[in-house]
């Protein structure tokens, strides 16, 4: 800081800007992080401690009591393991279908001169403004008619239907950012339009495509309502199973419920962590060309 007196007010402002401002910003960011993460941390803590430790006031958490036995117990239950497996199969298939159909729809919407293109885009997204509750009965009746109740396929179809408009919008947005010339170059080099899509557009939109895929996966993974209505025994997803456990009187042990909750969280969180780099790039930077 300057020793010259008349410079003092300026130095003060500089000091506030250089030293105090970051502290405030980080404090705010910290509050936000705690706000978001605390419940998850609490669930994680509960899932490795006996119930008595955290229901007492104040909580008596102890490292000595840490155990994974609640996880083991839950995974040992055939229906929980099956529900996890159901969710993985359903979410993964939904994600794949969303990407394939989404790319095939987003590409022409982004690149071709189509009549009423914007109508299609608007209608597709407006259809998602309808509360899903409204569609429960028709969906149930359709699935019953198709004899698909309590199958993976019924949930895959429903989730793909619901997520596809978002996926199309996201992918179209990413494709829009790729210069036309890049695709033209691919076509000059011998690609068909479809070839240019798969060999150039999708790889170049890579981070965006990954972000979209993760979005679709999470969307399918977290869905509850249709899972509840359309599955009874065989195709029950983990969200529905979890809810059943929470409300079930047979499981009075909260640690078991917490462990199941963690089991539902872990695959998604892992996925996001593994692909973190691409997701951030895809969502923040868009397509870097």
């Amino acid at each position: 800081m300057s020793a010259v007196p008349y410079d003092l007010s300026y130095s003060m402002r500089q000091f506030l800007y250089d030293r105090v401002r970051p502290i405030i910003l980080y404090a705010l960011a910290g509050i936000f992080v705690v706000w978001t993460v605390a419940p998850v941390l609490w669930i994680a803590t509960m899932s490795v401690q006996p119930e008595i430790n955290y229901v007492s006031v104040p909580p008596k958490l102890s490292l000595a009591d840490v155990s994974l036995r609640w996880y083991a117990d839950m995974l040992a239950q055939a229906d929980v393991a099956a529900a996890l497996q159901n969710s993985i199969v359903i979410a993964f298939t939904t994600m794949t279908l969303c990407l394939v159909f989404g790319a095939l729809a987003a590409y022409p919407l982004s690149r071709l001169q189509l009549p009423r293109k914007n109508w299609f885009l608007t209608i597709s997204i407006v259809s998602r403004m309808i509360p899903s509750m409204v569609l429960i009965i028709p969906m149930f009746l359709i699935m019953r008619q198709l004899r698909l109740l309590d199958t993976h396929l019924s949930l895959i179809i429903v989730y793909t239907t619901f997520l596809l408009p978002y996926v199309i919008w996201m992918l179209k947005n990413f494709f829009d950012q790729i210069p036309y010339a890049l695709e033209a170059a691919a076509r000059m080099d011998g690609c068909t339009r479809l070839g240019a899509l798969f060999r150039v557009m999708i790889p170049v939109a890579g981070p965006g495509v990954v972000a979209t895929a993760v979005f679709a996966f999470i969307g399918a993974w977290n869905e509850f309502l249709f899972g509840l209505i359309l599955s009874t025994r065989l195709a029950v997803p983990i969200t529905v199973k979890l809810s059943a456990l929470v409300s079930s009187t047979f499981h009075s042990d909260t640690s078991l419920v917490a462990a199941t909750g963690m089991l539902a969280i872990i695959p998604v969180v892992t996925l996001v962590f593994v692909l973190n780099r691409y997701i951030v790039r895809g969502l923040v930077e868009g397509v870097k060309y």
């Binding site: 001169q113 210069p179 010339a181 890049l182 033209a184 170059a185 691919a186 076509r187 000059m188 080099d189 011998g190 690609c191 068909t192 070839g195 150039v200 790889p203 170049v204 890579g206 870097k288 060309y289």
Partner: protein, 370 residues
Amino acid sequence: MSRVSLRHVAKSFGPVQAVKDVTLDIPDGAFVTLLGPSGCGKTTTLNMLAGLEKVTRGDIFIDEQNVTKWAPHERGMAMVFQNYALYPHMNVFGNIAFALQLAKVPKAQIKERVHRVAKALELEALLERRISQLSGGQQQRVALARAMVKEPKVFLFDEPLSNLDAALRTRMRSEIKKLHQQLQATSIFVTHDQEEAMILSDYIAVMREGLVVQYGPAEDIYRRPQHLYVATFIGKPRMSTLSGHLRVTNDGAMTFESDTITLRWPFMPQHGPIIPIDTQAHLGIRAEDAQLLVDANATAPHSSDVFHGEVTLVEPLGSDTFIEVSRGGNAIVVRVAPDLHLRPQIPVSVRLPRHKLHFFDMANGNRIDL
């Protein structure tokens, strides 16, 4: 090495006619530029040639073969794009080899051809680099290599220089010109930069609003513009124009009058049969054709082909100086020797030699041949 022809080619995007009716014959091995401002249809024309855009009407021929409906890669053309359009997810080798890989050329042969082209363009050391690690000039060379490796019959260039900084643009322009001199392959170049067009081309097609206004050797485009639009688009500085009334009488006397000036040229029988003219017209003269008179009294007695005015602008370029001489809303730009130290507001006289003048009909802009 191929001849390319467009026959009454047109393209509409919905109600918009981007290209109205283009007919061009491009000789074997020529460097042809489609020149015009943005929106004149030059890029659309190029895209139709390449097969990237479907043709609404008309036919395209390569060596007498109608290729109008062929896919882009079947036409034996290669294109260098604005911003190069290199594949960012591949390295330099991948970019150059991509077309050959798609054409299922054997691996060993791909390698050999890529290396040969890379060597010619001094890219050998960069083959493993990612595109994002290259400088602008290197990217342009990769784009050229990607086109050359296909050994195309025709090279297409879509404003490849327009986004480069001035120094690099000049260097790349020379590189493209040298490349054409080496390969002697038919090349079609799109640009809005008339200087670039003049420097590179054997032939220029000046386009406006989806039509070719004039097509011919670059020299002709510059020396004998067939339309006021071509005259003022080509050349730097812009051709000066005066508007007024042009009269040519049976005995060959010629006058050009406007509110503030009257110019008169003497009887000149050597210009062939005289067609009497009496019309509103634009007079055009290039900066290098107008002559600054040092001694204003030294004009020939029978002619008054002199424009009197005062200097309103002095633009020294080092090698030349351009001055603007104005009078009553009319202005003429004149090239003068750089050692002439002129200042604004000095009264000067400019001689407009009869055989250097261009006249254009005010009604339709067409050249009036005298």
